[in-house]
Amino acid sequence: MTTDDPSPATRVAARLMASAIELFARFITAVRADWQGVDPVPGRRVYYANHASNGDFVLIWAVLPRRLRDRVRPVAGADYWLATKLKSFIGRHVFNAVLIDRTGGGPKEAPVEQMAAALDDGSSLILFPEGTRNLTDERLLPFKTGLYHLAKARPETDFVPVWIDNLNRVMPKGEVVPVPLLCKVTFGAPQRLDGDDKDAFLARTRDALLALAEDAA
């Protein structure tokens, strides 16, 4: 998906909207970053995180320093983010999302190619390897294979585990009004492919994320 060059008015509106979203997120969660295993510096990175709420990538995005934030692109489902005009504006212009076709209509390797192309452009990615929002009592669902395929396509990439703590309590499924609670975003030590096979890589990256969760709790 290519984003056509936005007009200056669209860009200003996107900036304002970004500030409003960040302010709201901070008002509700007072979100704080904990850079445990990695420093907030630029690099070829995929931030992969647990996914329990629609606000997940907003929190990661909000705690990234400006120079990182401007280069980071969340990977999200096109079906959700193109559903309405407002969502499409936010998805494409505010967050500059890499929109993935989840309906299964296109070729299977297309999403990985899209993500790899974004990395090649110098962007970092925010990815939710569980594939869907976790609405169960499990801490973390099994990972989909996309994370591995992306690592195989771009082995020089750092995969940074990111644990988002408490946001699922702020906005449980089915609720429309958020309850203000403190949230924390923890960044762990980066993982690389290093010749692992699929199952080993997915297990290792998932364990790294779960270790951060243990720490947060």
Partner: protein, 311 residues
Amino acid sequence: MIPDLVILLSWITGLLILASVVGAVLEKRYSPNGESEAIENLTARIRAWWGMAILIGLAFLAGRTGVVILFALCSFAALREFVTLTNARRADHWTLAIGFFVVIPFQYWLIWAGEYGIYSIYIPVYCFLLAPIISALRGETENFLVRVAELQWALMICVFCASHVPALITLEIEGYEGRGVLLIAFLILVVQLSDVLQYVWGKLLGRHKIAPRLSPSKTWEGFVGGVASAVAIGTMLYWITPFTPLQAGVMALVIALMGFFGGLVMSAIKRDRGVKDWGHTIQGHGGFIDRLDSVVFSAPIFFHLTRYWWT
């Protein structure tokens, strides 16, 4: 504008400049590259004090509306920290949302309007009875009493008690008209200086711990020195109050004691929940509750003592 308020704010500014200079000298001598954690924390605290003093000063200058809005926001931040550490679950979602978005604005509006007859019972009576009803309607019984009690406590501490700080401005004391904001300044100055001086005396002379399990930094030496200093300061501040010097000293004693025990009680909750600070929003201090715990415990008592004997 009240001339005494300007004088008081000038004194506070001078005090903060002094603190900043002392902090800078200590940093230069003992921690030029940030190697001493204690000194780094001290300078972070002083910087945060500037921010807090400026905010409170502006609220004072804005009068009743400013003070009410400032403390409503403090209640919001405090409740956000408190609820984070409770057992609240999905079934309490609406109870909590109402707590944040209805109870806080309504309580502070009542304060602003001076509706003593309602604001003094709205949370202890109405919310006390209505909150468990909303939670019960969701049908989740696990830990029900614990959840309801925690929520009630959270509202009492973070909203009801905290709202008694701005409520001081609504007291109608003969010969003290239009000076209510100074009563708030008296309370906050005495309680915060008591906290700071307990810390300082404790660092200088502290040997015997009062409650090692609750709060390892609280010592008898710090307690006695801090409270005595706070009483002395309170006595000297009688000119901003409707009290005589002796009365101001006694009030300062009550405020400092309640503040001390407030800190102790809130520490007990932190220990139970296994956290060191309530939050992280105020650099060097921790959360809002870490700074408000003593104010919250002393405000309602100070309010009612003043109301009973002076109005």
